[in-house]
Symmetry: C2
Subunit: 161 residues, 2 copies
DNA sequence: TATTGTTATACTCTATAACTATA
DNA sequence: TATAGTTATAGAGTATAACAATA
């Protein structure tokens, strides 16, 4: 249990707490839109990086194959995605976003942006500047997390969603 | 209600995307500890801000009262928290962290910190400095979200389609 | 045999509505 | 009546194990 030295103990501790709270808050915000976080995430991925097979989608989303099967089933029943079996390999199922799915995605994005804008307006100019200044660093941080978990598969996520 | 212009369009858009990806990543990280995100969040809150009544805890955690009742029941059955009815008002139930709960919290925290430290080490010194510099602003942002949601509950939802 | 996907089962987590107990 | 908490019910979301269909 020897406490190996941290690069910056204060930063890391506060950052950890911050992220915990942030996740908590964003979850409730996300729930507002009538579309669940899981659906939003998968739909966003499909919209950004084109059609996926179920197994691929499960992998990049970090869930099990059965979980993705069910998630896709729910999304399909709501008209957000379409399933299609390709000619080549009849075991596979390709999942793609429908027009309705794209509409929903866009609405959600607009809502989130409006919400964040409200929050950011509540801060002082210096606070906003500090966040803007840290944005590239935070983006690199997230990309790093992606690489760690996604292995070799999806570093190309400029998900502008 | 309908802001035709955003305070800082680039900041808000990138920030929104960043948070979406961040949540996605942290969800899988959180699962590592054998303790669920909901339990971790509530337990952490109890450990930081002392005993809470069920209703208070539900409010600050942003979930319904029944959800918190059940969450507390699960945590109690695992020995993480203790429930106690005070003398004054026998309707109330105060929830507090047990020693075992604190142990679990500490282990989880250590794991998360190690993970984040790894990530932060992967950045340059300037990136770390930028994040450290933005921490107070981000903390204020999260606190604001708390106030917004704790105040009016969910009556003031934005129309979403 | 290996793969792709599904079904079966069980658990966590959540919300709303209806309820009990206390104030 | 009002408040604190619980129970009832329903549904989303998840995982592991077992299965079917295709390769």
């Amino acid at each position: 249990m020897s406490p190996e030295r941290l690069a910056d103990p204060v930063l890391v501790g506060r950052f950890s707490t911050l992220l915990e709270q942030l996740v908590r808050r964003l979850r409730t915000i996300s729930a507002v839109g009538g579309i669940s976080p899981s659906v939003a995430s998968a739909l966003s991925r499909l919209g950004a990086d084109g059609p996926f097979r179920v197994t691929e989608l499960a992998r990049v989303e970090g869930v099990s194959q059965p979980a993705m099967t069910q998630l896709v089933a729910r999304m399909e029943s709501e008209g957000l995605v379409a399933r299609e079996t390709p000619e080549g390999d009849r075991r596979s199922v390709f999942v793609s976003v429908t027009d309705r799915g794209r509409d929903v995605l866009e609405q959600r994005r607009a809502r989130r942006i409006a919400f964040l804008d409200d929050l950011l307006r509540g801060l002082g100019r210096e606070d906003r500047a500090a966040i803007a200044n840290a944005l590239p660093a935070l983006e690199r941080l997230v990309d790093q997390g992606l690489v760690d978990q996604g292995k070799a598969g999806q570093q190309d996520d400029e998900a502008e969603n």
